[in-house]
Amino acid sequence: MKKFIFILFLFVSTYANDGYISIKKAFVLEKPNLFAKKVAELDYGEKVTLLEKKGAYYKIKFGHIQGWLHKSSFTSNKIVILGKTKKQASASEITAATKGFNEIVEKNYKLEHKELRFDLLDIGEKLAKIDNFIETGIVFRKNGKLCEFKKVGQK
């Protein structure tokens, strides 16, 4: 019986390490640090293996890629995207993947709420995207002594 429990534990532990990317584009980083070098980009719903946890960062493996993700871009809840994983996923997986509030539901919702200015929202979402985000961001933070450039108790 003890052997059975031990095998069960090993079995469960093995399967407990899978997770999914929970954001549209996730950066896999070389080190567990937000400003570390980016080694890869993974898409929403990609299945990854969790190798290690360190503070707010998870070390993951995806194919031959290994690196660190912030925990806010990882979920242990299953996510499957129709289209992207269509070839690999079973019919039932595809069925599960296509459920939920998404672009198609929003489209139908818009038809019923023609008064809502989704067009302005789309303009806003585009306006909010910073030109040359990475380079501009670094200069902005450096000049303002923020984030990775801050000094404790700075003047």
Partner: protein, 288 residues
């Protein structure tokens, strides 16, 4: 002992193994049926996915923009986004499904700010005008980022309503969009309901407890990013007493400042001074 093992087995299966794995394990029809039942129960208690939160947030954002209008000045919007992004990087949730959007509402009367679960953070022109420098703007944005980190808008949905929504999602597949219009209409109605609940919570404000938590987390985000959390007190002092909407849900200024000051004492290193460079940068970019 057997009962104990059985419960342990069920617990592990339910919490640790993805339903995807369960399906692969299932070899015979009976087991498959059981797995499907477990999967349906699991789906019925699951949270909204990040994608669902984004679309719920978008519907609330569309309502807010329709009501107050969008200020479309590129320089101002990009600057507010630079400040916001610097804060987000030091928050517990630097990554959202589709990122954060910091937008200015074309409302010169109401002093207010809002955040949706989709990552849209709004500040009215009136509140932006009240800010004298970048650190005060950072304080306003950090409070809203904290609401997103704490999932306050999503948590305003009652358990019953959430279960109803998830059940509707589970019962429906997009593949049947053209075939099953009745169910699709039901799903859209549920989306409509959820959107209404979330929008109402965002516009009317949250509980005192949630607002206090957002202040406390906001201070930490501001300080971690290198801004001065003392700007939090400065901007609160400037708020009028007769606020409407979301900001009305906060405590009175005196109590709010008292809570903030006691939180500041818990921080080991507080950035006390507001950098001159940031003051000048604010003046240069914010011309309303």
């Amino acid at each position: 002992m057997r009962n104990y093992i059985f419960i342990m087995l069920l617990f592990f299966l339910f919490t640790c193994i993805s339903t995807d794995k369960l399906k692969k394990i299932a070899e015979n029809d009976n087991l498959k049926k059981t797995v499907n039942v477990v999967k349906k129960s699991y789906d019925a208690v699951r949270d909204f996915t990040p994608e669902e939160e984004y679309y719920i947030g978008r519907s609330a954002a569309a309502y807010i923009i329709t009501k107050y209008g969008l200020y479309t000045d590129k320089q101002v919007t990009q600057y507010v986004n630079m400040v916001g992004t610097s804060l987000v990087l030091e928050s517990p949730r630097p990554y959202l499904y589709n990122g954060y959007y910091f937008l200015v509402l074309n409302d010169e009367k109401n002093i207010n700010a809002y955040a949706t679960p989709g990552g849209h953070i709004f500040i009215t022109k009136a509140l932006l005008k009240l800010c004298d420098n970048e650190d005060e703007l950072a304080a306003v944005l950090a409070h809203e980022i904290a609401h997103i980190c704490n999932k306050d808008a999503i948590n305003s949905i009652s358990k019953t309503k959430k279960i109803e929504a998830i059940k509707s999602i589970v019962d429906f597949t997009m593949e049947k969009v053209t075939k099953d219009k009745e169910k699709f209409a039901k799903l859209t109605n549920i989306f409509n309901d959820i959107s209404g609940i979330v929008t109402k919570a965002i516009l009317n404000g949250y509980s005192r407890k949630q607002e206090d938590k957002a202040d406390k987390l906001g201070i930490r985000i501001v300080n971690n990013a290198g801004y001065s959390p003392l700007a939090f007190v400065n901007i609160i002092k400037k708020l009028p007493n007769n606020l409407k909407g979301h900001y009305k849900a906060h405590r009175n200024k005196k109590d709010r400042i008292r809570i903030i000051n006691s939180e500041l004492k818990k921080l080991s290193d507080v950035n006390k001074d507001i950098l001159d460079f940031r003051k000048k940068r604010f003046k240069k970019n914010i011309k309303l």
